[in-house]
Subunit: 680 residues, 3 copies
């Protein structure tokens, strides 16, 4: 694979901004990086004006000089396209390139990511700057790869400019061909919303009470994603004309309203992610956000990144406190946390770790988004810890390229994700169940993957012992066939409430529920309701395990071979089936009538025999995360202690500690924020 | 009276949307309705495009076909004007018809009720569509009545388009004739707000801190109400040219900034109300809203409807869970609740109950606004319960036309209502006392009416034993004369704090307080204050009963024959009179210096001898509501159990249970959500 | 000094609005004022239209008539320029004079302070009206002084009109001369914000996430302040051409984004302040705001006023409940509170007390902003209390002109104040420490001053025994030199965390921290962090006193003669220095690594020997405030009881009670809300 993910070692990098510093600092900076093991830097993602200070006046001297230095000292470079921050001259002259609030107020120059993806002028200017940069720099020996733009859809994942409405019409014409089909898809007969001309259609605008048509909103989210993908491909296609063989193209994601799987397939070699687990400790939001996981919750995002690229990179790995002058106030990483978060990334499949950033910026919005070094650039505790990380990585090169190992897959798809964002009924169950599953899996030390149903291959899917699709609200025949094949081949599929009540337009189906999976599940749903807010959470008992059925209850009935596994014990529908199973081929499907609590999820993990797969290898407290990567039949077990206290781990086998090479067994101590990587 | 309120039975209806369903479903749907007792349907309120798909192209085929079917199967129809949802072609071509946010941003196509009542273009297009529809359909045999538009002022009860400013000037010129009078009325000398030209006047615009002139705001609310009334009358006047004799005109209200009494007098035969008591159990707002009443609070709204039309209809009666994709998440009605809420409506004076809606919509914003049937249309528990309701109604036809019976009237008027919305000092006492009185009356089983002082006849008013006018802030001579006549004729009038300190402009009077009622009350108010937030609620003791004087205290002194009934026991003004009475003619007035708590209200009900008038007939727990309708000297007592638990009621008399015809006496059990109707 | 502050008595005044009342009331009103001791009235601040009803049509009759009456009865007058409320004709014809929301929506006629300071048209119209008024009225015998406008920057302290952007460019050109210097100052290299033309620069506009460049924001705040100062000077310069010798010019401040020191130096004779301590008891915000200080917190603002003018006036002193129809709902002052708040003002250095207002307005937004009299104008309790105040003042004329006495100065400067408003990291420590110091000083009865570092003379500064500069984030060489001179001359300077990490652009310095004060403090800061939200507040022990180091911790190291005074006892940096001292010249500097809690501040006050300087004179409970004014070697001790309970004070010396002339010693009782003024 590409340079930084080629599988023979885990590489360290950092983000560097030569334009922020006096040139006299450059050489010393690069040499100090190399001295602590940093071999790669990312540059230039906000540096449009360093190449095109005025429209059409291109000057390459600045980065020529810097790249020359990089080559001299032996620093490898990831170069970026600079489109995240158009220059002032550009947006002042062409305000049509700006993004807008839904009510039409433009987002002006002065922050970042204020452009839209659909302005013809911006696409034209983008093509020019990318072409100029690629043409000039791509052959440079120091460059090993490229980043497109920076954090597509960060800050804003909705776009309301006039250009967006025009492009939306094109998108819709391509999708529906006729207004009749669009009217049908959006159910515009409701509230007399029928469109009689394409020109009557806009991106969702300010409406009475913001009660916009939900099917319109769902297509709008797809359109936004399509816009980003097209924009990324525009850049990627230009770059590909110029880059050296072996050089890679990536971008740092993951953000809203963006099908990263598609973008990666179309335009990237792999995805990179920007990981800031210390957001879990931000002062301004801690009371609301705090729970027993905090920084450990970033493992969800790393799992997400892995669902896009099995092996991925961290383009920005937290190395200092975060924040800007308007919020996100974070403390400095405590001793050990930089190592912990680095190992968290690697444990989940990252083979490239680039610390954000080398020096803390002394100006602008991110003066508190600390890098490894503080403002003065003096040596400090964090730099020392980066050096220590490097030493650990030297001892664990064999982990590079190893694949994350999981028996449990949580099924996702973008349509349901987006629908759950625009529809509070869907969102309420989706977000609650997602956290419940994550907590149950994490705390029971059960590794898992996310599986994007529209993107994962049947073969990969069939490799999981158990698939959980918490709320498969929108179902397509294609998706159901994939699930059915999985079950027929021996898989165990668990579905939660509300499956199949919508089609891909987001409209409700008139078939008996659960619609397209009724047969696969052997289940009928004669009635359903939210759990009333003055009722306790109903529950069922299944093989002696309690299954709280939170938030929403489908009242089930078995059909077509379905077998009642458990009944509601509570509410006016006590005695009604709450869990029905059905065998199909070599496998089995379970339909559960509620949303999941952590307890429900744990009951299922245990009942389906997939909880805690490494309990025979080692025993460890809930505050530790376990992750396993595997290569050539060898397993690498990451043990990560997120608590500040020392904890005891019991090793039931002899395991090799990769950091030290020592064989360990029995009781071992892991210090606060400590990490271990064992070979099994 | 009109068809559905003709007094010989209570009629069931439902709301049907033929345009939402394949025609193949129509006939079966209508027949199923009839089979469970549903005899009337409302149609077409959002169907403008089904008649005028493009501007000026009228086509009546769709509803012709449907009405033909209705006639065939024997279904009666309430037809609607479709103006609540103008077509996309209309608002796109004529954006001046749109309503706007206060800051000028237009509410665009994509939701509903996005038009304004004052655009000349919209009035013109309204007249055309109403004329066309009336002309074509009004003679159809199946039609028995008409609904104007749908839910005037729902979603928005403020309008800020340019058309509104133009019309506001006309309204003000009619009212004030000269700018001098307007400047005087609005007190524009304050903060130099003097207008020197009519063109300087607008609907309230965005101002510094939103600190708009309150007298301007009050007239603006009157203007909004006037706008709706004019708009309703425009439609009603057209309809009256075409409708068959005996067919009625109504609309479904009640919403903000709208004098429904005036609208009904001018344009309707009676009012209908849309009753959704399950909003009391919405998940998204339950923690804030919950109290011991929940769905029972909807009896306030039913009392409001009755104040407009003594006998009224329910155009939309909740039959499933409510909600849309952006909120209002409701659980399904629990078994018995559909019956309970239906009987709640009837108990309060409704003789027509139309369930919203037949089938749950599968598309658009209201996919969660469930009807009787779910998406599939299969038979279900709720349909069965509707059938059961129908059977009960068959046994209680004699109740139809009976009038709600109350000895206590709560006096209201639109001016004070609106002033309390724009003035937080007024609102704080008004809203708190309103709920306090409602809870005390409900929980003590004391039926009451609302009496709109400007609309109720002197004769009707004088029929009440006790009138409570909690906070008669704005007083007019006309109103005071009405109250005085009431007292002189033997009535007991109770006023709370802050009476008479404003005139009808909303300006404060310079007369000694309580201004126009000082003489009637024998009361002077040398001093007043909010109860300081670090003080306990002061109270007085009156005939051994405690009268907490919440929120605001007038410090009273007797004048002109006033008699001190009780003094404050607390605060720095302990010993100052808190309650003064004065006899006038055959009656008596009480002036109380505070806002009312539930305890205060109950003390007054008991002290004035009007609490619990049926306590000799039956004894029942606080969780039950009692309502009484009377016809030809016979009383019908509705007993409604809002709790989920069974409760015991003790009948001291022999009473006939209308549902069964049985005579009951002594202890009887009412199941959770159970209802009884007794003949006395 | 000027008339009302001439040092021979404390003068009472009130605010009167002849334009609000029928002329028939005027004479009686003025005579009643005089009868209770009110000798001065302020008039005309919102009366533009009384002089220029239509553009260019001037008529002076109204105030001529009123001033004639004032002269007749012997009432002195403060006349105002009327620019706070431009007429409707003005803003309707010239909308460019309006202020706007950041997103461009204009603030329209209908409230007040809706103009901007930079519209050329408004400056032109201002000059005309001020000139006309001054020319006509200035020589009138009754007039003793002038108020400019009314409450500059109240309501809004941000301005976003087009005129403001144009003026901002001029301001920036004057400041930076070249774009290169501006780009450098604003760090526009960050996020590619480089400006290549002055026309690309605007006041801060709507941006993505509101994440505007902080250095741009800081200059914007300076520009706003500059705008107000220029606007005040425009008016003041005109007035000076016309006013009688000895007549003063003032305005009522203090509001945001305004360097009142500069404005006073340039345009005023002294500052006046509008004091409404009862805001501490507003119902609508009490739960959030309440603490043990409430109305006593207004002493911060009085201290602020004193920092601008050693002797100042209260232009609006609360005399009734406050509030408008949209909020700020206040109870009436309780008996004694008018006296208490009056004495609070005098205790802090006010020699003129003008009650707001004579009669409560019956119209407009401020119908609840009560004056001495209620709507009817009848005699009342509050009027009586004003008369009692007057009697007290008759007994304490000798206090007039006495100067507030404090050994402790809290150092402030506008740059740090403004930076703390735009930067949450700065604000979090600044606001917390400010309240901590205030509470510790107040509750330990330690009088203090605020010292504006850029405005106070070196001599005045050196008069303080201890200076506390809680968070000297932005430091300049000039400021540091002033502090150094203070220390060299024997002062004790205490700095809290984060000193010197920014320069005057708001950019971070690359020098080792604490930057410019490193040498003066003998301190180096190798590392720093927010206190993590899951950690307890770290603390140090210093001479047996506990020093909690809240919010943010600098981890210190001694350099250049610094001496470790205390170390952190907690967190991962336990054992690291938390407090370092260094002697310089005759004085000493302390650098403390945290933000201050009340406990920390008290420990320092005690440890530095400046706590409770009057503890040998009298002992009193924490709920009492003590203030001392001194003249000719005589001290006047104000003792103010903010609680509603009687409290005991022990006098260790014989003290003369100025109210009574009696000598008191030993235990004396101060009733609830009671006040005493002793001569020492």
């Amino acid at each position: 694979m590409e340079n930084i993910l080629r599988g023979d070692k885990i590489t360290l990098g950092t983000c560097y901004y030569p334009e922020h510093w006096d040139k006299s600092l450059w050489e010393d900076d690069l040499k100090r990086m190399l001295s602590v093991g940093i071999e790669v830097i990312r540059i230039a993602e906000f540096a449009w004006s360093k190449v095109e200070y005025r429209e059409g006046e291109f000057n390459f001297d600045f980065f020529d000089e810097f790249l020359e230095l990089a080559a001299k000292v032996g620093m490898k470079v990831i170069f970026c396209t600079p489109t995240a921050t158009p220059p002032a001259w550009l947006t002042d002259k062409y305000p049509e390139v700006l993004n807008a609030r839904q009510d039409g107020v433009l987002f002006r120059h002065g922050a970042r990511r204020h452009y839209n993806y659909n302005s013809k002028k911006y696409l034209e200017l983008t093509a020019i700057i990318v072409e100029k940069i690629a043409e000039h720099y791509a052959k440079h020996e120091s460059i090993i790869g490229w980043q497109l733009d920076n954090e597509f859809n960060c800050e804003h994942w909705e776009f309301y400019s006039e250009s967006d409405s025009l492009a939306f019409r094109v998108f819709l014409k391509n999708k529906y061909e006729t207004l009749e089909k669009l009217n049908e898809a959006w159910g515009t007969m409701f509230w007399n919303q029928i469109y009689t001309s394409w020109d009557e259609i806009y991106v969702p605008r300010t409406t009475s009470f913001g009660n916009n048509n939900p099917h319109h909103l769902l297509d709008y989210k797809r359109f936004i994603s399509d816009s980003v993908c097209r924009y990324a491909k525009l850049q990627s296609d230009i770059l590909k004309k110029y880059i050296k063989p072996g050089d890679f193209i990536t971008t740092n994601s993951i953000f809203g309203n963006l099908d990263c799987c598609r973008m990666t397939e179309e335009s990237l070699d792999f995805i990179t992610y920007d990981s800031y687990p210390n957001f879990g400790y931000c002062l301004n939001d801690f009371e609301r956000m705090k729970d027993e996981l905090n920084d450990r919750k970033w493992s969800i995002n790393l799992t997400e990144a892995r669902a896009i690229s099995r092996i991925f990179g961290i383009m920005e790995q937290q190395s200092g406190s975060t924040g800007n002058h308007i919020g996100m106030e974070g403390p400095a990483p405590r001793p050990g946390q930089i190592t912990l978060w680095t190992m968290q990334s690697i444990a989940h499949g990252a083979d490239y770790i680039s610390y954000f950033r080398w020096r803390t910026c002394t100006m602008g919005s991110e003066i508190y988004w600390h890098g490894i070094l503080d403002y003065s650039g003096r040596d400090n505790r964090r730099l020392k810890e980066v050096g220590d990380v490097y030493k650990k990585l030297q001892c664990m090169k064999e982990v590079a390229g190893a694949r994350f190992k999981a028996e449990v897959g949580i099924v996702k798809d973008y349509d349901n994700g987006w629908d759950s964002e625009l529809d509070v009924w869907h969102g309420r169950i989706e977000w609650s169940s997602r956290m419940a599953w994550f907590k149950a899996l994490e705390k029971s030390h059960t590794p898992f993957d996310f599986c994007y149903l529209d993107h994962i291959s049947q073969e990969e899917l069939n490799g999981y012992k158990v698939l959980v699709y918490p709320h498969a609200v929108i179902l397509t025949e294609e998706g159901v066939n994939k699930l059915k094949n999985y079950v027929e081949q021996g898989g165990i599929l668990l579905l939660g409430c509300r499956a199949g009540y919508k089609d891909s337009t987001g409209k409700c189906v008139m078939a008996k529920l659960p619609g397209l999976v009724s047969d696969l599940c052997g289940t009928d749903i004669p009635e359903y309701s939210y759990v009333a807010p003055d009722d306790a959470v109903p529950y069922a008992i299944w093989n002696g395990k309690k299954l709280p059925a939170a938030i929403f209850n489908d009242l089930l009935a078995p059909v077509n071979g379905g077998k009642v596994e458990a009944e509601y014990e509570d509410a006016y529908y006590a005695g009604t089936p709450a869990l029905i199973s059905k065998e199909t081929g070599k496998g089995k499907t379970y339909y559960f009538g509620g949303a999941f609590t952590e307890e429900t999820a744990l009951s299922f993990l245990e009942g389906l025999g997939v909880a805690s797969p490494y309990k025979d290898v080692l025993t460890l407290p809930a505050c530790c995360e376990i992750s396993v990567r595997e290569k050539d039949g060898i397993k690498y077990i990451f043990v990560l202690n997120y608590s500040k206290e020392n904890i005891e781990v019991t090793l039931h086998n002899e395991l090799t500690n990769l950091y030290t090479g020592a064989i360990e067994k029995g009781e071992v101590t892991l210090e606060g924020y400590g990490t271990k990587v064992y070979r099994l």
